[in-house]
Symmetry: C2
Subunit: 217 residues, 2 copies
């Protein structure tokens, strides 16, 4: 892949900060303001922006509106992205109710579950039996899926998703999924996130600076 993965992850973070500044009515911002909110150096912000052709300068700063629009275009957020969830348990339900996604142009259009007892189709986001997944995804040409099923079902669900045309999976099951060529998998393992935190808390001496375990810190 030509573009550095971490620079894209930073762009997402810049956009997140800038979107909030825009909501607060801020018109212009300097690279050090963005840097500070994201936790990188101002030089890194300027470098990332210049790689992606985002203009502005050290003295006059950047226009927030224009930056957000350009970042949305770069990050493919010009149009609403439809997403399905498999697994309507605790995590799945929480994600279905999570308001942050819509604000970012991400729409969860349906959920699927193997347990028909949790299925319902009169809710804002319908929950359908798993066997309907394949037809729905291929019919609607959906490219993005979220997996929130138990570990022992996750790879099987992923295989069905990929066969139906899904290209990218955000996986909350605590294992490393495998996908076909061209697929993208983002594993978010909540146990490991908490474990790492505990480890570093037990390790850190009082005189340390605060430690960030962010992906790109």
């Amino acid at each position: 892949m030509g573009i550095n993965k971490n620079s894209i992850i930073r762009l997402s973070r810049y956009k997140s900060v800038l979107t909030r500044l825009r909501l607060q009515g801020t018109a212009k911002v300097f690279s050090d303001g963005i840097a500070d909110a994201v936790g990188v150096t101002a030089a890194q912000v300027r470098k990332d922006f210049s790689i992606f052709g985002l203009s502005g300068n050290k003295r006059a700063g950047y226009y927030v509106d224009a930056l957000v629009e350009r970042l949305n275009a770069i990050l493919g957020k010009d149009e609403v992205q439809d997403v399905v969830i498999v697994g309507a348990g605790n995590i799945g339900q929480a994600l279905m109710k999570y308001k942050g996604f819509e604000r970012e142009g991400i729409r969860i259009v349906a959920a699927f579950d193997i347990d028909v007892a949790v299925c319902r189709d009169r809710t804002r986001i319908p929950v359908w039996p798993l066997f309907k997944l394949s037809r729905f995804v291929s019919g609607r040409r959906i490219k993005i899926g979220i997996i929130a099923v138990p570990e022992n079902a996750a790879q099987e669900v992923a295989d069905i998703m990929f066969k139906s045309g899904i290209k990218g999976i955000l996986n909350f099951a605590p294992l490393r999924l495998r996908g076909p060529q061209g697929s993208v998998i983002n594993n978010v393992n909540l146990e490991i996130e908490l474990e790492n935190l505990i480890y570093f808390v037990n390790l850190s001496a009082p005189e340390d600076n605060s430690t960030f375990l962010n992906r790109n810190s």
Copy 2:
């Protein structure tokens, strides 16, 4: 910090894989088996193990039981770790019901919320009004907290937590929290995780290999 952050994150992943192997009754494992499940090279596994004094060898392999025990000791998982959650909304409730934590020796002992309407103390995990947080945390000497409140309340909640003696926060609010010296913050931003996935799906050409957005890949 003397020890490399990514090596610790990898140790957590090794432990996760090995714990599962043990549950399946596997007695011995080779570095390439672990490497494959985690998505790193076998040389990397052997290097990480040797740094932390985990013995075994290329030909005879490693004893799963012994490895898990040593990893638990290194990662500070010998004793149960008590954790509090602030925010009993969708994400908070899902985390309270999440079974993966207990399996890893992590016990959520109480949740707190500003909204007294969601508070209840006869549940397995009690939900108390926020004003009780400080006394509970300092009285029980709790070191780890999870934040699952809206963005605009998160920093204020974090400040209260740190003042009460919390040393590490797993933060699900979509902003970068600040903490005092010696604190550890692990930000998990679900919007950004999904956005990055969408970006890479839109980017990838069919002939690419599958892409992993894991923290340490």
